[in-house]
């Protein structure tokens, strides 16, 4: 993965190749690789192996680096005591629904704002982007009050997955990302489709969406990880034990359960997002910087 000359950074390529520079560079590289592995993977190692230790071993001083008698009891007990299968299923269900709602409604809206440009479109876009300035914590109380008694229709959404899905559609960052991507699709293509007699829906489906796969992937991955990581909102709108998400469920059990079991449950809860990350890390990292650097 060595970068070739041409992109020069703070320290020049030549300086790194020379005698002293080379020694410093390799020492630094080794230190960084070792240090970063310890700092970022170390705690995860500690977490996974800690939950393999027995209750007496975890209280031992000094702590053991490797469990003396590794046992999976904590994991098995956590799985049954916390009903993790149900919690994981709930979270997965909310995540998939969030992806579908965001993909359908946000893509349609961004397409309208980018290509159809109806009257007042810019005002609507401005009002959407303005919500980026408002911190989530400020809105939490009025949002909760709205969800327990929706205006006009007077429906209570507590314990309904729509309480998670619908507010997530109001995601200005998605609209911004998608609209900017659609803006880069040449107008000629749209005109050509129009000449061939394609209506707006047909154009969106057959031309825009196939070209937008990368950005749709980024939006979907972000939606899944957001739902998986979110805590306060699902804690408030999913109060029953049957509808909880995995993070909320673990927290709810954390006071009456042994700490090894809670950590074991935390490990299990983290596995899906870690797998998603390892598979899609390129998309995730490029999506993260795409939205911020040029903005």
């Amino acid at each position: 993965m060595a970068q070739e000359s041409g992109t020069r950074t703070l320290v020049s390529q030549a300086q790194l190749r020379r005698g002293r520079g080379r020694i410093v560079y390799w020492t630094l590289l080794a230190t960084i690789i070792l240090g970063f592995t310890l700092v970022f993977l170390g705690p995860l190692y500690w977490m996974v192996t800690g939950a393999l230790k027995s209750g007496t071993e975890i209280a031992q001083t000094p702590p053991t680096l490797w469990p003396q008698h590794p046992e999976t009891d904590n994991y098995v007990n956590a799985w049954h005591d916390l009903n993790l299968a149900k919690l994981l299923f709930n979270t997965f269900y909310y995540a998939i629904g969030a992806v579908l709602f965001q993909l359908i409604l946000d893509t349609a809206a961004a397409y309208a704002l980018s290509k159809l440009r109806p009257a007042l479109g810019n005002v609507i876009l401005g009002a959407m982007l303005a919500t980026l300035m408002i911190p989530a914590m400020v809105l939490i109380v009025p949002q909760y009050v709205t969800v327990i008694d929706l205006p006009i229709v007077h429906v209570n959404l507590l314990d309904s997955p729509f309480a998670i899905w619908l507010p997530l559609v109001a995601n200005a960052f998605n609209i911004f990302l998608l609209k900017r991507f659609f803006d880069s699709i040449p107008e000629d293509l749209m005109a050509a489709a129009s000449v061939d007699g394609a209506g707006p829906l047909r154009t969106l489906w057959s031309i825009i969406l196939p070209m937008s796969r990368p950005i749709l992937g980024v939006v979907s991955i972000f939606a899944v990880t957001y739902v998986w990581k979110d805590f306060l909102w699902p804690k408030l709108v999913m109060p029953s034990a049957e509808t909880r998400t995995v993070s909320v469920g673990i927290e709810a059990f954390s006071r009456g359960t042994s700490m090894n079991e809670i950590v074991a449950a935390s490990v299990i809860a983290a596995i899906p997002t870690v797998i998603i990350f390892l598979i899609f890390q390129r998309n995730i990292m490029s999506g993260l910087t795409a939205g911020s650097v040029k903005g």
Partner: protein, 315 residues
């Protein structure tokens, strides 16, 4: 958009070419408008219900009081009650303390990590994955790890074991009022710094190499190059992330909830966000919580105003 077709022209039997085209264009314009809004309606309804309306409702609620289903206007009562809460000032003190600590640790560290990573020619992909990995963990999972294994106040805890092997004094961590905030900043920085590192890395890669070349020819050493090239070139991103960091730290909630069971010892962990939660969902005081939300919004707006002043002045 003015429609230029004169009225009546279309009614004529022998319609002229431009008239037909204009008419078609007008029809298309109307049709596009209707379909355009049809495509927008779903998202607009969600924004209206869950963003725009709650914004107004929050302000309205902060001046009302609902008791047994009856809502009355109470003026500034909610505000005076929330300010009189004995946890109000500690919460702001803790939140600002956290913000300052997080700006030192969570803001400067990712920048230097990014500079370091940008200089490396090997293992870049691996190191980037490592830095971002904690961001992908559910915060609750990561915080239970810190709470039970790292911040264990006995010598069996990870941090105390490390401190002890280095012959440094051990800490009571979350049991001690002084260590509570730094401990929360460490956990929060570990969990969140990956995003900032990647954003800095991307902006560092946009710096033209000639600038460093020229600086070096002028005899600028390493630190001078960082100070006179790297920092000015990434100024806008640095300012933007500082603002984002302040907004994020103001909303600190899950860290005190899990690490310190909410308030911590002697209110040492109570944050403004936690106080909103406490009032709204434990003390059955949604109106007071809404008032505190409005106060938080005003404080953040003041920060944003300063930010806009600072960033636009130079251009």
């Amino acid at each position: 958009m003015a429609i230029i077709t004169a009225p009546g022209t279309t009614e004529k039997l022998g319609r002229s070419e431009p008239a037909i085209r204009n008419n078609a264009r007008r029809n298309r314009k109307i049709r596009d408008n209707v379909t355009g809004h049809a495509f927008l309606i779903g998202a607009v309804l969600c924004f209206a219900l869950f963003s725009w309306y709650p914004m107004i409702r929050g302000i309205v609620m902060s001046f009302q009081r609902t008791k047994r289903g009856v809502t009355t206007w109470v003026g500034w009562d909610n505000y005076t009650r929330i300010v009189a809460d004995p946890s109000f000032w500690p919460a702001w003190k803790n939140t600002f303390y956290f913000t300052v600590l997080a700006l030192i640790l969570g803001y400067a560290v990712p920048f230097f990590v990014a500079i370091l990573l940008n200089e490396l020619r090997h293992a870049k992909g691996y190191l980037r994955i490592l830095v971002y990995l904690p961001v992908m963990l559910p915060p609750a999972s990561a915080l239970f790890l810190f709470k039970f294994y790292a911040y264990d106040p006995s010598d069996a805890g990870l941090f105390n074991a490390i401190l002890k092997s280095l012959h440094l004094p051990t800490s009571q961590w979350m049991q001690s009022a002084d260590a509570t905030m730094p401990a929360m900043v460490i956990a929060s920085t570990w969990m969140n710094m990956g995003g900032a590192v990647l954003i800095y890395l991307a902006s560092l890669q946009n710096i033209p190499g000639e600038l460093y070349e020229a600086a070096e020819l002028d005899g600028a050493g390493l630190w001078r190059r960082i100070w006179n090239v790297t920092i000015p070139q990434t100024r806008l991103i640095l300012a933007l992330l500082a603002m984002m960091q302040i907004v994020a730290t103001m909303q600190l909630f899950i860290e005190p909830l899990i690490l310190a069971n909410g308030a911590g010892t002697e209110d040492s962990a109570t944050t403004v966000a936690y106080l909103i939660y406490q009032h709204g969902f434990f003390q059955n005081d949604l109106n007071g919580a809404a008032a505190l939300g409005v106060i938080m919004l005003v404080v953040l707006a003041a920060f944003s105003a300063v930010y806009v002043r600072l960033t636009t002045k130079q251009d």
